[in-house]
Symmetry: C2
Subunit: 286 residues, 2 copies
């Protein structure tokens, strides 16, 4: 049974996990660490963590389960460092939005009988802005929490048991767990998560240039505009690593959307427009 | 004071206007007409109209204010017919989503001292689907209702008075009225309403082809996906006339978004991506 958790990175996701663990009835200790101390103090004041650690490796070493809730390259860096200090009695897991590189590193650095275990995870939940201050105990309620576990891995019995218990804690936070191959995960999220984000960014940046200073903008924009540009508020810092670790799949998706918009543009006056609307209708009906 | 209103077209907007007029305290009569009788019967059963007329011209002739709540080309057709049967004691108004052609027709067919008045209107409210059954008395609450009135028009005193009273009824439905030049209106809605719609249609149609049959789709898609594709449910029948009456402006907006997406695609690994995110952030901050 898990009694000591370290959350490395107390931004929106890490802090929300702390709050959700408590809301789900978890009674053990939660130690927090954040690169910038301010976010850690906010997480502490919200009760998401019970104490703050000055050093991430020390916090990890004295815990059973270590949750990495930092950007993807920071996750990969911490994985390198942690693999040298943790034992088969530890389990590390994460919340990174792309999984191919992290899962490959997990196989290389963890997940052998004499090493700590690593369970790659990705909760399909978030907000368009980050930060501990907007953390929310209900963020994972009703969400799917994906694991890209590799069935070929042979973990130590202790870390395998911790992985099983962590899945139960994820369910206690209100999420439904599913399993996906890491390559399939990255291909799929390029379409259903990354493409929508980059589309909202492109649309918002375009509108900023074209009508951002129009005095009538606030009057004329309705729900459709607000909704289609909400993700435009997402900061680059949250998406840089995603762009860098899923580049080919995102390029392919963006190029396909460019062609699709051109097709609509060339067919505004033809019956092809109806077919395109019907395809779109079908996507929403299914 | 307005005592007799005819609503020609009892779909989502027409029926919602009837309900909103009643909710706002309007005590006069409301006569409804719809091309297909079923929608009229639903509007009647909901109390949005007090009676149904078999003929739109007769319903208009016996009313003071005639609201056209049909697609744009149907609006233009009815304008031609109504201009022959109405007198300077009538006011016609509409809810069409593009205003250049309707406003030009209003100047040609109405808005002279010996003719009926016409006040071109466009409530910035709607849903991604149509139909009387989902009409809503609160649809216009907090929304902006645009008028593209032409200050050069000289209406009969009676129709001018009815136009003033109609603006007050619009306020009673919870909307804020603003004035725009019709060409400016069409240029602006191409960016903030039509582009978001066609983008959602393109994205939904693309996803239908690429991942529509993926078994994991329902698991992996989150709020971002739902939000960015909600408008994909909009039917072609609601958008065909918009595509045909604001073609050049929509073509320009679509082409600009294609270029923007290509720019992001070519810069996923460069610092330009940060600048684009910051432009997008600015649009949401303003």
């Amino acid at each position: 049974m898990i009694e000591r958790i370290a959350i490395l990175g107390t931004g929106l996701l890490g802090t929300s996990v702390g709050l959700a663990l408590r809301a789900g009835g978890y009674k053990g200790s939660i130690t927090g660490w954040n690169r910038t101390p301010e976010q850690g103090k906010i997480a502490l004041s919200m009760g998401a963590v019970g104490e703050l650690a000055p050093d991430p490796l020390e916090a990890a070493r004295t815990s059973q389960v270590v949750l990495l809730a930092v950007p993807i390259y920071a996750t990969l860096d911490l994985m390198e460092q942690l693999s040298g200090v943790l034992s088969p009695d530890h389990l590390v897991t994460d919340v990174g939005s792309t999984k191919a590189q992290i899962t490959a590193a997990a196989g290389r650095l963890f997940n052998a009988p004499e090493r700590a275990g690593f369970l790659p995870g990705h909760p399909m939940a978030g907000k368009e802005r980050g930060g501990a201050a907007i953390a929310d105990a209900t963020l994972f309620g009703g969400a799917v929490w994906i694991f890209t576990d590799d069935p070929a891995w042979i973990r130590s019995p202790r870390s395998e048991e911790l992985a099983k218990d962590w899945r139960e804690l994820v369910v206690s936070m209100g999420s439904r767990t599913i399993e996906l191959d890491s390559a399939r995960h990255d291909a799929l999220v390029a379409w259903v998560s990354h493409l929508p984000q980059f589309t909202a960014t492109a649309l918002s940046a375009l509108l900023e240039e074209e009508v951002g200073s129009a005095p009538e903008l606030k009057d004329v924009g309705g729900r459709a505009l607000r909704e289609m540009t909400r993700l435009g508020a997402s900061p680059w810092s949250m998406w840089r690593d995603i762009a860098l670790t899923n580049t080919e799949a995102v390029e392919k998706a963006l190029f396909a959307l460019e062609q699709r918009l051109a097709y609509i543009r060339e067919n505004l006056r033809t019956p092809e427009l109806r077919d395109e609307f019907e395809r779109a209708n079908r996507f929403r009906r299914d």
